[in-house]
Amino acid sequence: MTRPRSAFLRGMRDALPFIIVIVPFAMLFGLLATEAGLSRFEVGAFSVVVFAGASQFAALQLMQDQAPVLVVLATALAVNLRLLMYSVALAPHFGAAPLGLRAVMAYFLVDQSFAMSVAEFERRPAMSLPEKTAYFFGAVTPVVPMWLGSTMLGAVMGQAIPPEYALDFAVPITFLAMTAPMIRSAAHVAAAVVSVGLVLSLGFMPYGTGLLVAGAAGMGAGALVEAWTEARTEARAEARARRQERQA
């Protein structure tokens, strides 16, 4: 077996556990979008064109709240800003690949393919470019059909479930469930608390624009706390080093 081929298969195998998360998440989108009045074709097109679950939920909810197009777009794109970070992180690994290939990879840059690739490239720093590319595409191979298939399955179910079973709280639970495991430091807590506090107190701002202010402030708060924490850790390490020098 060639090495890129085995890297591709390894990517596929590593992606399998993510199916447990993707299937219900995609089904829920199909279901809620259908309840919101979208046709099966529109639901499928949404998932193909955008291919970024959290922002699709956000856009759907804001459109139901009758927010203006620009606010819907700005908020949903803000949810996807994390992809910019992924793009930055993967650029050094794939910079030497042909532009056309990178253009295709960009479409498939999702949470799962990013997280898996970065972890794998750290584990095996000697991987060649073709191997890395093969691993990346291996990782997205199970994800893409599962994502689209489950969206459509959800859309079909949505037509069968009567609207009385209000699923209004499915999105809040899903978003909180995505957020909670990401909270790993004081900086994450600061970002979430500042942003939530502001969005609640800025409710008077029109058309959900308070959310944009709150999100930006939350990101700033996270960055600030991270910078403070780093400065403090460095200062401590320096003090320790100086003490050891004196003892020696």
């Binding site: 998360v21 219900p24 919101a36 979208l38 529109e42 097109a45 064109v49 955008v50 970024a52 699709q56 956000a58 909810q61 459109m63 139901q64 197009v69 819907v72 777009l73 949903a76 949810v79 996807n80 800003l81 910019l84 970070m85 793009s87 930055v88 993967l90 650029a91 532009l99 253009a103 479409y107 209004d168 709280f169 999105v171 809040p172 639970i173 978003f175 909180l176 469930a177 995505m178 957020t179 909670a180 495991p181 909270i183 979430a192 500042v194 942003s195 939530v196 969005v199 609640l200 409710g203 959310l211 709150a214 999100g215 930006a216 402030a217 939350g218 990101m219 700033g220 708060a221 996270g222």
Partner: protein, 109 residues
């Protein structure tokens, strides 16, 4: 109901915008270095935006006429606590769903 004209504009705009975000550094900017403060801030997009997006619906759900609903609030708390403790999105969703549907039964309403 969602306006269909608006829907397609949002879909197209979000699709193109999201693609450009993904393509940016991978495709064009390559080895250019982002300012450190920006990289820092980007790390917190998800934790800042996602909970803020749903916070009003948690505290004042439209489905309960804008009044705080104990079942929904308890479900949100359960989701956060389980997700934080077990580091698992699925466990958090299951916990939130169970509290949301079972608490009203337990309270006899």
């Amino acid at each position: 109901m969602i306006d269909k004209g608006q829907l397609w504009v949002v879909m197209a705009g979000l699709g193109v915008g999201t693609y450009l975000i993904r393509f940016s550094f991978l495709g064009l900017l390559g080895n250019r270095v982002l300012p450190r403060w920006l990289v820092r801030a980007l790390r917190y997009t998800a934790v800042a935006v996602l909970p803020a997006l749903v916070a009003p619906a948690v505290l004042w759900p439209a489905a309960a006429g804008g009044q705080t609903d104990p079942a929904r609030l308890a479900a949100a708390v359960a989701t956060l606590v389980v997700g934080f403790w077990w580091r698992s999105m699925m466990a958090a969703i299951v916990a939130g769903g169970l509290v949301l549907y079972l608490l009203p039964l337990v309270l006899g309403r």
